[in-house]
Symmetry: C7
Subunit: 92 residues, 7 copies
């Protein structure tokens, strides 16, 4: 898990996407259908949530999220996604 | 009913779709019309609900949901759907 | 009125549509115009309503609803519709 | 004014449209322009309103409403419209 | 100012549009550009407002409103507009 | 600054757009790109705000607003814009 | 960091975009993909927030924001962006 100094705002979360080979190792398999497929990643940083709504995910959680969720950015050669917690489907 | 270690977020629910032959056995029959047809499945895991709105469905409930609801994922060879509780029509 | 073991979720209602000949017997007639025409049916099961908003219709009520309301399903050879209470126009 | 046994749900209102000749007699005239023209009718039955918002119109009120408001239905040979109170422009 | 027996519902207002020549007399001039131009009129009747939101305009106020606001109706040969108070830009 | 007798309703504000040469004098320069450019003007009159939300801008403030904000009107040969406070970007 | 006399309204923030070469120096690299890429800048001035929702970012914060966020303006030869705080992704 990377250590980056980025503080997401409000209900946003910084996620480091899992490498492709890691998916098979964990037993998770994404079926090859026409439906949108979830992606897996690790939470690196979280915002403070919205008013009266603290976030549920924590730094270190492995999460599933939609394929087109979030905005890409990279730091020191590592790619990240910054997305809203509502784009996260589940913690695994 | 499968045992998986996935925690859906907020108002999301993890559902294991029923096999096709199980539909006839239970007497449920989906008519062949142009309308959207509900599907049947078993609730495997549930989120904590939204603020002040705990979920109604429980693990183990057999539920009906719309044909195009949810996002597919599979684990150890079993297909699941992760959807919002609002996509669930009824408990049977 | 049928007896089925289906619990609609939240503000949903299970309706058994009236047979076509029953419409004439009750004096209700749906004019043949371009406007959407309401349908008649009997409430078979109701959800618990949304937070702070219990449902108004009760099991046994005869209701009018829009022609394209709800999702079809059938059980033991009988067709039903599951719809939101907001799709119900009136109790007759 | 007709007497029908229909209870509109929530904020819905059952209206008996005025006959065409009645419009001239009352002095009301709808100009022939491209704008949507209001229609006149009599309130026959009203719902209980939404939570904390009782309805304003009462049975017997003569109301103006938009030309394309509501859903048509007829009972014992009389045509009615069932519409939301928000579709009613004014009481005259 | 006319005297008509029409009670607008909720946040609606009945406006008698000003005659075209009256505009020049008051010094108000609407520039001839591509932007939507406001119209001037007199408030004839007002609704009771929405829950907890009484109306601001009063009978007799001269108001400016958007060109395409409201629904036309006429009574005893006089044209009126019935519109929501939110369609009124200013009192002059 | 002009003196006009117009009372904007609710959260609306009457703005007198700055003349074109005044922009250079103040040092403000609007770059010539494809993005929407803000305009500068003086607040002439303000509404009472919405329920529980008094306005922030005051008569006399110089404000920046989007190029296509508001509705044009003119009075005694002077052009004004009437817009919602939410259309105002900043006070300068 | 520039010193300008502009007060953004409500939940708006004035940002001075970072120069292009500064991006490489800080180690931040924006990958060249089809996804929308975030931009970096410094907060120069902030509004008072919306009712009951003070802003999170402070003057001097370095922030990431979407490429098409905000409205351009320039003052004394320096370009700025004025945007809503919701358009800001993170503080770095």
């Amino acid at each position: 898990m990377s250590n980056v100094n980025i503080k997401p705002l409000a209900d946003r979360v910084l996620v480091e996407p899992a490498a492709a080979e890691e998916k098979t190792a964990s037993g998770l398999f994404i079926p090859d259908t026409a439906k949108e497929k979830p992606q897996k990643g690790t939470v690196i940083a979280v915002g403070n949530g919205k008013k009266d709504e603290p976030l549920t995910v924590k730094v270190g959680d492995t999460v599933l999220y939609g394929k087109y969720s979030g905005t890409e950015l990279s730091f020191d050669g590592q790619d990240y996604l910054i997305m809203r917690e509502a784009d996260i489907l589940a913690i695994i």
